[in-house]
């Protein structure tokens, strides 16, 4: 019981007859006898939809950390923002949900135009003229950004600020094993990157993973990577980063938060060559980490190196405005081993969602949300720093959107105790970094706290009270 197959027995017989076969098994005669499965797959038999739904609902019920049960103060690249019913309703239209990549533009203007509008919005957020139609997530966007930077500079050396999300840095390391990029992590001081004077060696750990040709002294870097704000919420000095890039002849890749962009000077204005980011905050559910939205924008000079899909405006044969995926010669299906990237399926539906969410927010709304996040963070941070034993992790470097504090007891303990009180207290830094990390002295006692526009003063106040109890007891 349980499938979605239309075939009746009578039809199957007629169809087999039509193609001249005697049984369904004969369809698989090309499969060597010896390889064929006997006795069926080692899986339970099918169940009815209601039975399966009941099972999955039970699993969902077993997740204590759902935002409708624990008030969410966790961030680190995944945020609990307002997503109104209207955005869910529109993004859920089955024409957007059940269509494939727009290979036939004549019947795909809906998705193509939505992509064109998304690209426009993403480019405006980045302050750059071109944005692609999405990548998998923030980490994959960063990987593609670094690949572009290395290709453009012709140098494998990459200086990565320790203010970049630890997971993203780890992903960068994973893929560097294939590309041979020489990564060097640049530590922070009070939450800000201190760019080194010398060229210096690449990270041992990551060089390990590097390819044979990989030398430990790659010479001057071809790419600098910095966050804005960085993952600790700190505002980096992008002017300084740009200057270092100009001295070194390196490309500047900025990982920027699209919501904070509502109040911050755009990376493009600061002179970024490539801007990448995590777009989950633009209307996509927390969803235990995916599917999210990789944002990617670059300067005009790099458009031929752009990874992934790009939609362009054109006309149809009657001269009517139309949209189509363009500069396809960059892509894997045409350029194959010489493609700028291997990405094919991307995160279009999340990009459509982001276009709708940004349409809902509008010019004033995005600025207002960014402002409210900053206010909430300030309000919450002030209160937490008022508790004894709770100290700032990043000195008095200005922060927006989120912030990190040192806790007198292990951050993990704080989280456990506040879960009892109905809060997801934040993200323990060591959980992200897997222990010691150049971005922070003692990650085990460091907690990253995010406050979105959904958090009320009452929630924050009770959170702080519970926090106080948790760190004192």
């Amino acid at each position: 019981m349980g499938d979605y197959l239309p075939h009746t027995e009578a039809e199957i017989a007629a169809m087999l007859d039509f193609i001249g076969l005697g049984s369904l098994d004969e369809l698989f005669e090309a499969v060597p006898e010896a390889l064929r499965i006997v006795g069926g797959l080692d899986l339970p038999v099918g169940q009815s939809e209601p039975d399966v739904l009941a099972h999955v609902e039970a699993l969902a019920d077993a997740n204590a950390a759902r935002a409708d049960r624990l008030v969410c103060f966790a961030g680190a690249g995944a945020y609990d923002h307002e997503v109104p019913p209207v955005v869910r309703a529109l993004a859920g239209r089955s024409e957007f949900v059940t269509s494939y990549t727009p290979y036939q533009p004549e019947v795909a203007q809906g998705v193509l135009q939505a992509m064109f509008e998304f690209q426009t919005m993403a480019a405006r957020l980045a302050g750059l003229p071109v944005a692609n139609a999405s990548l998998y997530d923030g980490a994959s966007a960063l990987v593609e950004g670094v690949n572009l930077g290395v290709a453009a500079s012709g140098r494998p050396g990459v200086w990565v600020s320790a203010g970049i999300h630890p997971h993203w840095r780890r992903v960068l390391g994973t893929f560097a094993a294939g590309t041979g990029h020489q990564l060097r992590t640049i530590p922070l001081l009070d939450g800000r990157t201190v760019w080194p004077a010398d060229a210096g060696p690449a990270d041992a750990g990551l060089a390990d993973a590097g390819p044979p040709e990989g030398t430990a002294h790659p010479g001057p870097p071809g790419v600098l990577v910095v966050g804005y704000p960085n993952y600790l919420g700190c505002l980096e000095d992008l002017g300084e980063a740009r200057r270092r890039c100009d001295e070194l002849g390196a490309q500047l890749v900025v990982a920027a938060d699209p919501v904070a962009a509502g109040i911050l000077r755009s990376p493009g204005e600061w002179g970024a060559d490539v801007v990448v980011g995590e777009g989950q905050a633009l209307g996509t559910a927390l969803g235990f980490g995916g599917p999210y939205l990789g944002l990617f924008a670059c300067s005009a000079a790099h458009v031929r190196r752009l990874p992934g899909r790009l939609v362009g405006e054109t006309v149809d044969r009657t001269g009517t405005t139309a949209y189509v995926t363009t500069l396809r010669a960059r892509e894997q299906d045409i350029r194959r081993e010489r493609a700028t990237s291997n990405v094919c399926t991307n995160q279009t539906l999340m990009a459509v969602t982001a276009a709708i969410q940004l349409g809902w927010l509008g010019t004033a709304g995005l600025a207002e949300v960014a402002l409210r996040c900053a206010r909430g963070a300030r309000y919450c941070r002030q209160a937490l720093l008022g508790l004894d034993g709770v100290t700032p992790l990043t000195g008095d470097t200005p922060v927006v959107r989120e912030f990190a504090v040192h806790t007198p007891v292990p951050a993990a303990t704080v989280i456990d105790r506040l879960a009892e009180e109905g809060f997801l207290a934040g993200v323990a830094l060591d959980a992200l970094t897997g222990g010691e990390d150049p971005s922070c002295a003692d990650p085990a006692q460091a907690l990253l706290v995010a406050v979105t526009e959904r958090r009320t003063a009452r929630q924050i106040d009770t959170y702080v009270t519970a926090f106080d109890k948790a760190v004192r007891s």
């Binding site: 369809l27 239209r93 203007q109 509008e117 994973t174 505002l235 755009s266 235990f288 995005l366 997801l424």
Partner: protein, 520 residues
């Protein structure tokens, strides 16, 4: 690059164009164009509504230092909720989709996506969970992921799997890095990966990103890997081979056992591109064919809707000897205590590291396990049977009307060709693809695989009924006969009844307009 001149500098200064949109134009009008949201915009209009928080309303000046503060807000569209709804609803009426009609797009497995899975992906207990919450607070999610990993291993015949890769291509690269890690661990520095000439473009692209060189082997006249050429290409510099089986011609690689033996003999690994897994569910397992690394496209085989291009999920399953190298952390079943099963995270000892910001496209994974649970082992086998039955019905139905380069029992898809139509009447595969749109069907995949001239790759999928196949068959027949009758006729005029007529792709690339701001 000529068109760069046409792209202005940072558009953050560029405001939306003054309103000029005709919020009224509805798609019932067929060809009426929908204005961009920026044209519907009117300064001062808004639809957002935020909750009252009681948080002090500090001015931005108190919160952001001047050098970091933006001078003017990011210019976005300013529309009412009503116009937002009108705009995107009208756009949706300009979009074909599986829910509107058959989508026989070869290699893409555009089957029907059960609405049950949408309901599952929307459950607050799944969609509302933060990815950084500690394991004890996400036991349901961990159990779900482990359940899925077990099911995928049972289906592929592998030992373990990572659920992190966000799509097939990401799975490929992950698999190649596993290959590299394996050889590194054995102190080997192999440089080449073999790929058949029928391979999908992501395969060679991934090979390059994996730090390998591509060696292409030709297909033989049966459409399978040319064994002689393969043997010739094999040596100890070969890290492995990437295959999809059935291959992109929709044909089963009959000598897969021979291929596996030959590759393993030189110490290479076999990578299985799972994009065509739908054909063999419950029939044969990649593991039993000798594959060491297998990626699956959950958004093809396990019915996650494609969302206009994504998201997907590309889990990678491996044989026992590669388990220690898998990306991590991995969700695992911990020893059972009295409280029942507990789940947690574990990092494989020699992991290649993370390949995703978090744990993969989790909500897509939830859809997949739901789909698998409804079908069960028996249902999945029926899926493969019906998919293959439908493809073969189309093959026989269209035989004689189009070229059938390899006219024998195919798997889940059949590759036809318009080579003869083109030679005799100047009608190309592209023209057929455009013309079929007028009949209310999506087009087959065209010009892929590259080794078939004027290829028309048809994958009906198992969820289309015989009546739909008949209608599709009639339509394709009509097109072929019409082409012959009119000796091509105005094939280039198609499509005529779609929201827009044939699109000028050359112009789009020639003078690039990638954003609303570009040419304004």
């Amino acid at each position: 690059m000529s068109e760069h001149g046409t792209i202005p500098g940072p558009p953050s200064e560029v405001g939306p164009r003054p309103a000029g949109g005709r919020a009224a134009s509805a798609p019932l009008l067929g060809r009426a164009a929908e204005p961009t949201i920026f044209e519907l915009s009117e300064p001062g209009r808004a639809s957002f509504q935020l909750r009252t928080t009681g948080v002090p309303e500090w001015p931005v000046e108190d919160l952001v230092p001047p050098e970091h503060r933006r001078s003017a807000p990011v210019p976005l569209a300013e529309v009412s909720e009503r116009d937002l709804v009108g705009h995107f609803t009208r756009l949706s009426h300009r979009q074909f989709s599986v829910d509107l009609g058959a989508y026989p797009l070869g290699s893409c497995t555009m089957k029907y996506n059960p609405k049950l899975c949408d309901a599952v992906a929307a459950l607050p207990g799944l969609a509302g969970v933060h990815p950084a919450a500690p394991a004890p607070l996400v036991q349901g999610w961990l159990a779900l992921l482990v359940e899925l990993e077990d099911a995928l291993c049972a289906i592929t015949g592998m030992a373990a799997a990572t659920l992190q890769p966000a799509a097939g291509a990401a799975g490929e690269l992950t698999g190649l890095l596993l290959m590299r890690a394996w050889h590194d661990a054995h102190g080997e520095r192999r440089r080449r990966v073999i790929i058949p000439d029928s391979a999908h473009g992501t395969n060679p692209a991934s090979v390059t990103l994996g730090g390998y060189e591509v060696t292409t082997v030709p297909s033989d006249d049966r459409g399978c890997v040319d064994m002689a050429a393969l043997r010739a290409a094999l040596d100890t510099d070969v890290a492995g081979i990437m295959l999809t089986n059935p291959n992109t011609l929709g044909l089963f690689e009959e000598d897969i056992v021979g291929i596996a033996a030959a590759v393993h003999e030189v110490g290479g690994l076999l990578y299985y591109d799972g994009a065509n897994l739908n054909a063999i569910l419950g029939v044969v397992r990649p593991g039993d064919m000798g594959f060491d690394i297998v990626h699956m496209n959950l958004h093809k085989t396990f019915a996650t809707p494609h969302g206009g291009g994504g998201p997907g999920a590309g889990p990678v399953a491996v044989s026992a000897r590669l388990v220690d190298f898998l990306p991590g952390p991995r969700p695992v079943r911990l020893v059972e205590d009295e409280a029942g099963e507990r789940f947690g995270w574990s990092m494989p000892p020699r992991s290649i590291g993370r390949v995703h910001s978090w744990h993969g496209n989790a909500l897509v994974l939830a859809r997949a396990i739901t789909y698998i649970a409804v079908h069960g082992g028996d249902g999945l086998r029926r899926v493969a049977e019906r998919a293959v039955l439908n493809a073969n019905w189309m093959r026989v139905r269209l035989r004689g009307l189009y070229d059938v380069p390899f006219d024998r029992t195919c798997m889940h898809e059949v590759v036809l060709a318009a080579a003869t139509l083109r030679k005799e009447h100047g009608v190309r595969a592209l023209d057929v693809a455009k013309r079929i749109l007028e009949e209310g069907f999506h087009s087959p995949t065209v010009y892929f695989p590259l080794i078939v001239d004027e290829a028309l790759m048809i994958e009906p999928t198992e969820t289309e009924s015989l009546q739909t196949l008949e209608a599709l068959g009639e339509a394709l027949e009509r097109i072929a006969l019409e082409a012959a009758a009119l000796d091509g006729g105005d094939a280039a005029a198609a499509p005529r009844t779609t929201p827009v007529g044939r699109v000028d792709e050359a112009r789009a690339a020639r003078s690039l307009v990638p954003t609303f701001d570009a040419h304004r």
